[in-house]
Symmetry: D2
Subunit: 336 residues, 4 copies
């Protein structure tokens, strides 16, 4: 329980991920929620009404003028990120923005350059970095327990299947999904890949008709010789599946899936435990709260944003190259 | 996110368990904390100062007079429970009291009879009943998955070793620790044991000098033929260890320990995962919040307290009999 | 692959366990099977016919006169053990006899005293001592990894349910089943218990009508303060279940059940792996071969039998006392 | 215990894998070992001397003339396979030959065509197909439990590091190691890949100097859209590591590594179990015996060889293409 100053913040967007951050803001006693913004004003009001002293609006105008606001959590659709980020930074408010900042490098540079120029922090929300299990995997690598890294394997299979409406605006599987794995692989190895190759399939016709893929594998090669494979699916029937494995010359570390309870039932049919978590809100329940606590420290200038301009730029370059490899059938050399 | 009425509550006692409930009250948006009471007024003030509009006091007097208070969470030492419970009930406030209500049956009856007479609910906090894994085990039994129950095994091994000061006032191992297992065994089987036998050892001299035990095993027999064993230790070097296993004629259900992360490290030395949780605040972090949510429903008279007079009375009778068996070396027939 | 002398041996009894030893004798290239004896001569012939140079008989007479025979593996019914053991020892043949040697202490003493007098080794087959997992548990204790032992928990649940014909001559659950657990607890702790208490139930009416139990729990206390619980069932619906757990002041070691394959299937219903092994021949497949290799070393006088007179005597005393405790409802002090 | 005819067989080569087959031949009571052949005649004699009636030789000449021999197990170096296979087939002896039959397609065709022409079976030993866990994975796929296959991941990491002498003649990592994974992926999916891409690294300078790789990742695409990744390392510090995972639209099946015992030790440092098996003789101990039992049925013409001409040819084509992809940096379209 910190006795530090409480920071007034605003929340933009109260969709699926916005609702998660809303709950965590309320439970983070270093933050006080003063504004809820959503183009759907009714939704904004519904959320705001649960918090004494919190205002609702369908536009950011008044919030940006509210000098008391120190930070803004942006959960609006990707297409609206750049403008919202720039507006908030220029109003002097620290920003935590859901990924991706943008799908094009120009807007990414624009946002981060403005952040640098104004000296106002911009944090892109890659929540996996705040997850205890992935963080422990990284710590295991960094303390030398598995020696020199040689192979990384990252698996992400979503559950449940996203809606067609979401898929249409998702930015496609490479930018929407594999970007998390690409970020994780870079973060764990501390190295940027030099070449990428990808295969993709669309088992579902509605996804094929969007010229998107529901299943992809990516191969990465790093200057030091590290090899990485990523496999991603839009749908795992058995629940939310995100695992990582790192093989070094002294050992291996794996971060496995988690289950809601520790119950195991044994019958003549076998030994059975819970399905994996339903989806990301359950799997990363604690992780999102940890991420928000990191943003508090960012607001306080106690730490730099854990994910920075260089990270976002490189992940975008790699995801775009993987997508191009998948389209052209050729491996792509990476330059940054 | 409920849109129901928010209930003003008071917290008595801000020691180890009081601090846990304090945090959960703040995060439960159906409750608002208005009073923090502790004989150590400074401690009370420190907690209260973190909550806008919350008052502190070293006595319950003013809080009892505060007609707005609908519920009280009692976390003071056991010796003070009876008076606090009676005072709160008589002031019309629903009570959630940490276990045990009291070590003697007369006081237990006194409290529950007053609760009944006044029609003000009294909830004794046996948090394990609210734990997802133990609840799932019970549900597995109740839906018939393992058939007719035949053997129950319950293990509770504490970590870290409680302080000597705490051990002096703990009520000894049978009432302080095994009572949880006894409650769990009754709850899972839906049956009251008819005979008990116990062995006890004191490996630590400081515990022996208190005429207490640090290690006990309890054997229970039930009218239906179910047999149960309980083993309890004051200290598990490897972390907080609480497991349960139920063997039925169609299968078995086990609730295992849990670990902070899902990381597994493999080296030439073996395959290693995290130590178990450090202690009860970590192991039952979510459980305590669920318990408090149950108390909200109790305050609202939406449900009866999950743990009732009959439960508390019988657990106390069984724990006392187990203690007497351990002292006399003879099995004890149980009557209620 | 040893280049040592090959030892001619005889097998008495080709029932369930005899068939297991038969196969292992053939696969042990330090032994050559020369005689198969069974009261059912046809069965004896069927087995012998598979081995070049192996003779069959319904009586031990000629085998005992065969001076080439160095060792005999006795798998006949318990009632015939004493005579067979004495005959073999007196004919100068090392003996490996299935447990129990006998249900009464006089015959046990008779056999072992004759073994001692003649200096011909007698090995009683407690196969669990030769199991890699239980042996590793003991080694973990003995190398100090878990510190001073405080609690031992042993579970044995049989599968499938033995036939009624077998149950009638089994010697009842305490001598037939719990004796294995008693041996294991003594072997792991290196200590003899000083007091025993037991509860028993007969959920199956056919077992009740034999004045036997199908479900028992045993509590043991040791002079050093160690406490042990044993739970045993004649039937586990989910497969053969034998586990042990030892809690010391520095840690815990557990030997879990094993499964036929390492396959895990995840679907929306949960995460499922194989049922446990079907029964003892599968679970202890490798263990029985290891046990027989130990007998080769016994024949060669390279080692003393791992299970000796003292072990068998004490296990029998403890099992009898547990049975008496279960019948009388009183704990029993143990003297040896 | 079969009562069928016993088949006289010969063993060519008593190196590492030959010694494993030698032991299994002795334990397979449907086979009798009559000849041991090795260019090192002393080694051949040492093995033969352990088996009554078994002859040794440094050449195959006399064995080929021995009309009683029905089958030959070939474990000589790869370079000698083709001649030995042709000689044996032409002498009318069923052949089980260690993989690879040959590294070039012409010799493979030559051997299998001769087998077909003479109607004498030729079995190439891909032992993983006989492994219970991998077989269970395939059965899980085939019975529809995981629906339509979408992603396959195969991992093979060797332990201990092979000697430099072996590496020089191994045929390099793609043919020596990844061929097993390629076979497994084809066998599990029942489909031939249409495109392959591979990255390779040589972390060890002695391996780099052989123009070989110690670490490779392979991406495969199948006509149905199935995607597969294979990662292979010459050295896993933590033991022998071979796992497979298949993700379908209804679920996932995984075959995990196995450990020598089921012991788990918990201390303040964590929860630790055994290292994985030391190497292939331990991991596949039972598998090799199952494979030999399959060869018995092949000798008896009760079944076709589980691995056939088509399998060997395609695996070789794919492994060669993967190697070429790794060398050229370009994906390779596969035609058969």
């Amino acid at each position: 329980m910190s006795t530090n100053k409480v920071h007034p913040v605003a929340l933009i967007g109260v969709g699926r991920i916005g609702a998660i951050h809303f709950k965590n803001i309320l439970n983070n006693h270093d933050l006080s929620l003063k504004w809820v913004i959503d183009v759907n004003e009714k939704a904004a009001q519904e959320f705001a009404s649960k918090v004494p002293g919190c205002q609702a609006s369908s536009s950011t105008t008044k919030m940006l003028e509210d000098a008391s606001i120190e930070g803004v959590i942006i959960c609006s659709p990707t297409a609206e990120h750049t403008k919202a980020i720039l507006d908030c930074l220029r109003a002097g408010k620290a920003v935590m923005c859901e990924k991706p900042i943008s799908l094009n490098l120009e807007d990414i540079d624009l946002c981060y350059n403005e952040s640098k120029r104004l000296n106002i922090p911009l944090l892109c929300a890659y929540q996996r970095r705040h997850d205890e299990s992935f963080a422990k995997a990284r710590q295991t690598i960094n303390n030398g327990s598995i020696g020199k890294v040689q192979i990384v394997r990252s698996t992400s299979r979503d559950h449940p299947l996203p809606t067609l409406n979401f898929l249409k605006i998702s930015g496609k599987i490479f930018h929407d999904c594999t970007s998390h794995d690409i970020d994780m692989v870079r973060w764990l190895t501390g190295e940027d890949p030099c070449e990428v190759f990808a295969f993709g399939s669309a088992f579902r016709s509605e996804i094929a008709s969007l010229h998107d893929w529901d299943t992809v594998t990516i191969n990465l090669k790093f200057p030091s010789g590290v090899l990485a494979t990523i496999d991603v699916s839009r749908f795992a029937a058995y629940g939310y599946d995100q695992r990582i494995e790192i093989h070094g010359d002294q050992g291996m570390v794996q971060a496995f899936n988690q289950q809601p309870t520790s119950c195991v039932v044994s019958t003549h049919e076998g030994v059975k435990s819970d399905p994996y978590f339903h989806s990301f809100p359950q799997r990363y329940e604690k992780t999102y709260a940890t991420e928000l606590a990191h943003f508090v420290r960012v607001i306080r200038r106690e730490t730099e944003p854990m994910v920075n301009h260089d990270d976002i730029k490189k992940v975008t370059i790699i995801a775009s190259a993987a997508e191009r490899s998948c389209e052209t059938g050729a491996p792509i050399k990476l330059t940054y």
